[in-house]
Every structure is written in structure tokens, then in C-alpha cells.
């Protein structure tokens, strides 16, 4: 029986889908991530690369770059350049600051030749999902409608294989992806100083608000700057996801999103 796909639940089979997690009567922040450091969780920064020499970032476990060959075919190769513009480093530093023991992996999809970036983005995301990363931080989006369907499929396949995609919402009046998909966790900014303040938004498509104003970010040349934008709110949620996953690795993306909701500042986060 167990080889059959679980598209139905035959009589007496409830045992087979027993949950590994002991769900508490009340989900608190203490239960969700109390004492967690992100240890053992693999977080992918799908961005412009990560500068491992920045003190806020620390060790980068693996780094690849997606580029195109002469025929325009995308491929993945080891990234020897680090960060080409600083954006990925800023995101990685935020994740590290909240989840100090996560494994940071970099997949570079921004930078050189980004005008044809949508295709590279798709390729990089597919690669990240194939690697089975626990959390993929996407502080970026594409406005290319042609890519929407493929992105949607990728987001769903990530969701079903327990890779959590955390994506920046667009605070501009344009259609963009993948943050609008319900299989990803979409993030906008709030103006509070607390990096763990998280708000659930009952008016989607943006589902959560995290710290996105006056964020201390790792910058090029080892500097630290104060920056604002949804790009920086997103890694806060990626880090919280990593904390929860390190303490409760058995949680599915759906359950993880439920935990984010239940521990949001405006839901039960003060308990």
C-alpha cells in the first residue's frame, strides 16, 4: 500500500500519515524557535552572490553562478567572484544575524547580463529546488509574464518537496512573480525596530510583514549600512523559517506557514 501515491486515504490507513510532529495545544514562539540557532538548516540566497569575507556573513557552504553560454543556454558553474553588486551579501548577513548556525548557500542569478535575467532566474530557482535546500530566500521578482507559469510550477514543486520559498513582495503597482503565488511565503515591510516582529496580513497577496526599514546590512568592502526595502524584510522571514526548521525539521511548508501565522506579533506572537 505504501508505494501508492497518497491521493486517497483508504480505511484503516490513517496510521500511515501519522504526523511526526507533536503539535502543542498552544503554538508559542518558545515552542516554535526557542533556543534554535538554525543549525543543520540549508538556506539558499538566490541573488547576486554572497561575499563570504564579510564579517556579518561568515562561512558560505557553497556558491554557484548561473550564466548563459554562447548559444544562450543557461548553465551552473562554481562561483568564484563572490558578490557582484552587494545585494546577496546584505541578505545573507541578515539571515546570519538571526540564525547564526545556518548553512548559507549562494546561487547567483543577478549581476552580469541581468537584462536577460528572467531565464537565468528560472534556471537558478530550478537548480536550488533540485538541491533540496530547506529555505530559499528570493529578494527579487520578475515582471515577465512568459515566466509566470513556469515559476508557478517551480514554486509548487518546491512546496511539495519541503523547500520553503520566501519571496519579496513588490510595493509598486506592477504584476510580478513569484511572490504572488500562494505556495511561497511573501514578505513586505513594517517600520518597527524589532527584527523578530512579524505581522500576518489578512489582506493578501502579501502574507507577512517583517522588518524592512533602517536595517543594518552587510555592504561591499566590509562596510555596514542602514538600508530599507522589502529586499531586506524577506531575509528576516527566511531566518525565522530556518530557526523553526532547525527545531522542527519535520514541518511541511504548509505547517511552517501556519507556525508563522500563529507566532505573528498580531496573532499570538506575544505569548
Amino acid at each position: 500500500m505504501s508505494e501508492l501515491p497518497a491521493w486517497s486515504l483508504p480505511a484503516g490507513a490513517a496510521e500511515e500519515i501519522a504526523l511526526d510532529v507533536e503539535w502543542p495545544t498552544e503554538v508559542t514562539r518558545e515552542w516554535a524557535w526557542g533556543g534554535a540557532t538554525g543549525k543543520g538548516v540549508r538556506v539558499c540566497i538566490l541573488d547576486s552572490g554572497v561575499d563570504a569575507s564579510h564579517p556579518m556573513v561568515g562561512h558560505v557552504e557553497s556558491a554557484v553562478a548561473v550564466s548563459k553560454d554562447e548559444d544562450g543556454v543557461a548553465f551552473v558553474a562554481n562561483d568564484l567572484e563572490g558578490d557582484v553588486c552587494g545585494h546577496g551579501t546584505a541578505c545573507a548577513g541578515i539571515v546570519r544575524s538571526l540564525a547564526p548556525e545556518v548553512e548559507i548557500h549562494s546561487v547567483r542569478v543577478l549581476g552580469a547580463g541581468f537584462t536577460g535575467g528572467g531565464n537565468i532566474l528560472l534556471f537558478g530557482l530550478r537548480y536550488a529546488i533540485e538541491q533540496g535546500f530547506d529555505v530559499v530566500n528570493m529578494s527579487l521578482s520578475t515582471t515577465k509574464k512568459d515566466y509566470a507559469a513556469v515559476l508557478h510550477e517551480l514554486a509548487d514543486s518546491a512546496y511539495f518537496q519541503r523547500t520553503v520559498l520566501v519571496a519579496s513582495a513588490h510595493n509598486m503597482p506592477v504584476e510580478s512573480y513569484p511572490w504572488r503565488f500562494s505556495s511561497v511565503i511573501s514578505v513586505g515591510s513594517h517600520e518597527e525596530a524589532d527584527p523578530m516582529a512579524l505581522y500576518y496580513n489578512p489582506n493578501p497577496p502579501v502574507e507577512f510583514f517583517a522588518k524592512g526599514v533602517d536595517v543594518e546590512v552587510a555592504w561591499m568592502g566590509g562596510e555596514v549600512l542602514s538600508a530599507s526595502g522589502n529586499s531586506f524584510a524577506t531575509p528576516h522571514v527566511s531566518a525565522i523559517c530556518a530557526l523553526v526548521r532547525s527545531k522542527h525539521p519535520e514541518l511541511t511548508p504548509f505547517q511552517l506557514k501556519s507556525v508563522l501565522h500563529l507566532t505573528s506579533t498580531n496573532v499570538g506572537g506575544n505569548r
Binding site: S48, V84, C85, G86, H87, L110, G111, A112, G113, F114, T115, G117, S139, L140, S141, T142, T143, K144, K145, S168, H170, N171, M172, P173, V174, S176, S189, H190, E191, G212, V213, D214, W219, M220, G221, E223, V224, L225, S226, A227, S228, G229, N230, S231
Partner: protein
Amino acid sequence: MTDDLNAAVAAAALGSEERFRALLRSVVEVARAIFAAKASSILLLDEQTNELVFEAVVGEGEESLLGQRFPAGTGVAGWVLATRTPLVIEDVARDPRFAKDVAEGTGYVPQGLMAVPLLHDEQALGVLEVLDRQSRFTLEEMELLGLFASQAAIALDLLQRAREAEAALAGDGELAPVARLAAALGELDEEARPDAQALLASLETVLRHK
């Protein structure tokens, strides 16, 4: 009819660039005023060279920056373009790379910078920047800047189209013969015009049947 044609050709080939440029300038002037900023600028992405070009600048650096180019893959404007999301930085001067590049160009190094991508249809056309605001940044300001960006993106799109039309109509451009034909038609006297129009109508019929 020929006057209309002439006007259309002239509008596409001549004065439109100046008008759209004036529109861009007015966008950055209003942006600068609303945010009580020291300067504001619009940068256009040149896809051929993958560079960003200052198309409109008001305030500090106005004279020296206009028309200047730099690689689109680097810098704050490059981030904004690549990630297609707005960004605010409060102490830009601490970025050694940024300070050096800008100081070499203008002698003016801003402290704070607000940048938003100019998105039109599916394209990222460029970046709108507001430098050194008086007020502390709020998310409301970001949304306001986003609205400005929509306006600026439309203006930038028109400017690009005008340039493409101009290139096609001028010199040895693809449509240059059409422009010359329209101009010649406009110069014909009343007597000769009907014959020329009949000839053009026949040509049109032949081309359409093809």
C-alpha cells in the same frame, strides 16, 4: 491629409525628444520638491551597452551628470534594476566604491539615497533616484515614489519610442524614404499633388496586395 502626414513625420523625427525630455525633467523636479531632496535623477538603461545613462537631473550634480554613463550591473541603481524592487540607503557615503565613483563625476557625495525601478509593461527601463531627503524615511514615502516611478516609466518609454522613430526616419534608417516622400509631397504645388497622391494610392494598393 498631407499636412497631417507631414506633421506626423515631423513630430516623430524632430521635436518630440525635447518634449519627452522636458517631461522627464518635470518628473524629477516634482520628486525633488515633494521629498524636499537635494537632487533627483532618472537613469535610462542602454541595453546595447548595458549601461545606465543620466537622462534627467535636477539639483546637485545637475550639469556634470546629465548624459553620463556607468555600467548597469554595479552600484545601487544596478541593484534596483536587477531586483526590480525599490531601495533606500541612509549612509551611502560609507560605500567606498560609490563615494569614489560619484565624487569623481560630480564632487557631490550624497548621504542618503532612495531608488526605485522604472517598470513599463514587462521591461525595466531605468531607475528614479531621490538624493538626500530632509525627512526621515517612511514606507509611505516609498509608496509615493513608486507612483512617481510609474509616471516616469511612461515618459521614459515615450522618449525611447521617439528615438527609435527618429532613427528609423532619419538618414539611412529603415523608414527614411517614407519621411523624404512625405516631405516632398508637402512641397508639391496644388496642381501636381492629386497625381502624386494617385501614384501613392496605387503604390499602397500594390504593397497591400503583396
